[in-house]
């Protein structure tokens, strides 16, 4: 009996392997265009010109390795721009994270007048395209810019102003996300902490917030990336390189009036990708732990 089973298994071995390989083959084919694209970016940044995926020199022979596409790094402007980009991204992580975790908690746990209406309204707000609001936001920023002291940091044509606009546009999503995470924490844990003698604020900070840490981390990463790649808002509400960020800076190299230096654009693009990758490497563990054990035990 066992012998026959063994026999059939061995016969079907080839087909079995093939059957398992097919999904991988299909997946490989489907992601090939993206992989080729990234490969081109990396190759292009280090070459004078490219023909297909092959780096070539000016004469068209294979070779033409160069570092000249990376010379923008010696320009102090790029570092200023990088710092601005960083400022917007971190501003969004902190701003959206802070407000969403407080507002999400209140919406999830507390009963107050207008709670339902507020929830519905935030959802509708999220449906507004930022493009529709550009002119209105422009006026708001101009107004804030006119206020002494505050206007210098979060008015028109400031990094703070761009961050402020981005934060407010992202808040509906953040609040809803955090409300969802808070909804999943048991009431008993909260009641227990209240009976143990904690104030509502301590319950939020010491007991409930640690339970939604993976969710908060996911939100932070999301906001960092969207702040880092922000283009429309910084492009609209900043003038000149002093307050521009990387995507806007990059855009100048592919302007309509001059010839596009694609290899240089690729290099700047690659450069702007590095911090995101580093950020992701450090946070992916908490991202993946969302389903790993967020609220295991005591539930």
């Amino acid at each position: 009996m066992t012998a026959t089973t063994f026999e059939t298994e061995r016969k079907s071995g080839v087909w079995h392997t093939l059957g398992r390989a097919i999904p991988y083959i299909l997946l490989t084919i489907s992601i090939l265009p993206i992989v080729v694209g990234y490969a081109w970016v990396i190759i292009a940044t280090f070459s004078v010109r490219t023909e297909g995926l092959l780096p070539v020199d000016r004469a068209g022979h294979i070779g033409g390795f160069t570092l000249q596409n990376w010379t923008f790094l010696s320009d102090p402007e790029i570092w200023k721009v990088t710092l601005n980009t960083f400022g917007i991204a971190i501003g969004m992580v902190i701003g959206v994270g802070f407000v969403s975790s407080l507002a999400g908690y209140a919406l999830s746990r507390m009963n107050f007048a207008g709670r339902k209406g507020f929830l519905g309204l935030t959802l509708i707000l999220h449906a507004f395209r930022p493009e529709m609001l550009l002119i209105a936001i422009f006026h708001v920023l101009l107004f804030i810019g006119g206020i002494p002291l505050i206007g210098k940091f979060i008015g028109f044509n400031t990094v703070g102003g761009v961050a402020l606009v981005m934060i407010s546009l992202e808040l509906p999503l953040g609040i809803w996300l955090m409300k969802g995470f808070f909804d999943n924490v048991t009431w008993d844990m909260e009641r227990s902490a209240l009976i143990d003698g904690a104030s509502r604020f301590r319950v939020w900070w010491e007991i409930i917030l640690p339970q939604v840490k993976p969710g908060l981390a996911a939100l932070a990463i999301f906001e960092f990336v969207s702040g880092w790649n922000a283009f429309l808002i910084p492009f609209t509400f900043t003038l000149g390189s002093k307050v521009s960020n990387l995507p806007v800076y990059l855009n100048r190299f592919s302007g309509d009036t001059s010839l596009v230096a694609w290899n240089q654009v690729a290099a700047i693009g690659l450069f702007s990708l590095i911090p995101v990758l580093i950020f992701f490497i450090f946070t992916q563990e908490s991202l993946l732990s969302i389903y790993g054990g967020g609220s295991k035990g005591g539930v």
């Binding site: 048991t186 008993d188 009641r191 209240l194 009976i195 640690p210 840490k213 295991k296 005591g298």
Partner: protein, 358 residues
């Protein structure tokens, strides 16, 4: 600490969760709130804890109205069904959390946590996280956390429901023992009548938000004031038969199709001449006999020590316990003897007892 509830009511819009409950808990007493799920017993407990604010009525601790007192100022400990341990804290941090919030000095905190942990037999688990503990251990940690601040009132919200049957049995004894040793007033919510019967000094039976009865276990068992109490307390549950009680030649008889039993005068007198009413009799008060009410065995459920028989008598079925050694089978014809000195009578409309009234 003495606890009094007076006309305690909780409403959400039109939904009534708790409906004018009045009861008192004596100092050091162990009281169980017993009822089916959704009856309002947990709502009552959460109002005592201060999590819910009553819509109407009063809660008094030692005579003081505490309706508006915050949970943290009530000096209570609570154990939840879900244990509600803080998953990101170690066992030590969990137990010491109430003390930390009270700003207890470090040394005293360590001493008291250690003392409680030793009492609960979890001293060796101090550095573990809740997820690394078994259900029983988690429950002990939760109990330790409730006890560490030396509360004047302990509240339990179905603390044993998530444990397996054997552990439930041993924890039941332990909690009872602990409560007696510490002498702390306790309110214990459960839907399990065995838990309530074995642990509580007095049981408050709640149904539909209303207090049905509040008495000690023996009284609830022997003198149920309503049909609901009769059916809810006791396992296997009481048999209910629709009968008519008549008096003939100075003797009282309860009759329905296929059944005719004599009643003792003291009980028969209260039930006679009231038309159709409900006779309640516990399975242990029905025995197999050489002669008596004839019936046919419909189902045999072996429980180990006993067989639970479901016997068809006329059109009704009667549950009773029998010795497994008799080897009774489905379809066997038997005769039953009703110990009518323990029979209960209820009004079919009001469902109130005809024997025990206020």
């Amino acid at each position: 600490m003495k606890v009094e509830l007076e006309n305690l009511t909780k409403q959400w819009g039109n939904v009534i969760g708790v409906d004018h409950i009045t009861l008192d808990v004596r100092d050091g007493e162990f009281v169980a709130l017993l009822g089916p799920s959704g009856c309002g017993k947990t709502t009552t407990l959460l109002m005592i804890a201060g999590i819910y604010k009553p819509t109407a009525g009063f809660i008094r601790f030692d005579g003081q109205v505490v309706n508006r007192v915050e949970p943290k100022d009530r000096n209570i400990g609570m154990v939840f069904q879900s244990y509600a341990l803080y998953p990101h804290m170690t066992v030590f941090q969990n137990i010491s959390y109430p003390l930390k919030l009270k700003k207890t000095p470090k040394e005293e905190m360590h001493r008291r946590v250690q003392q409680v942990a030793d009492m609960m037999d979890i001293g060796h688990l101090m550095d573990r996280k809740p997820a690394q503990l078994s259900g029983g251990q988690q429950q002990r940690v939760a109990l330790g956390r409730a006890l560490v601040k030396e509360p004047q009132l302990l509240l339990f919200d179905e603390p044993l429901s998530n444990l397996d049957a054997r552990l439930r049995l041993s924890m039941r004894g332990e909690i009872k023992r602990l409560q007696m040793d510490l002498g702390v007033t306790s309110v214990y919510v459960t839907h399990d009548q065995v838990e309530a019967m074995t642990m509580a000094d007095r049981i408050a039976v709640i149904k539909g938000g209303q207090l049905q009865a509040y008495d000690n276990p023996e009284a609830l068992y022997d003198r149920p004031r309503t049909l609901f109490i009769g059916s809810f307390v006791g396992n296997p549950p009481m048999n209910f038969l629709e009968v008519a009680v008549t008096r003939e030649n100075g003797e009282y008889h309860a009759r329905c199709a296929g059944l005719d039993v004599a009643l003792p005068p003291d009980r028969g007198e209260k039930a006679a001449g009231k038309g159709t009413l409900i006779l309640g009799i516990r399975p242990e008060d029905v025995t197999l006999a050489e002669q008596g009410v004839a019936g046919e065995i419909y189902v045999v459920e072996p429980l180990g020590r006993d067989d639970l028989l479901d016997v068809r008598v006329g059109e009704v079925s009667v549950r009773l316990l029998a010795d497994p050694a008799l080897g009774l089978r489905m379809g066997n014809h038997v005769h039953l003897n009703f110990n009518t000195r323990k029979a209960q009578f209820f009004d079919p409309q009001t469902e109130k007892s005809l024997l025990w009234t206020d």
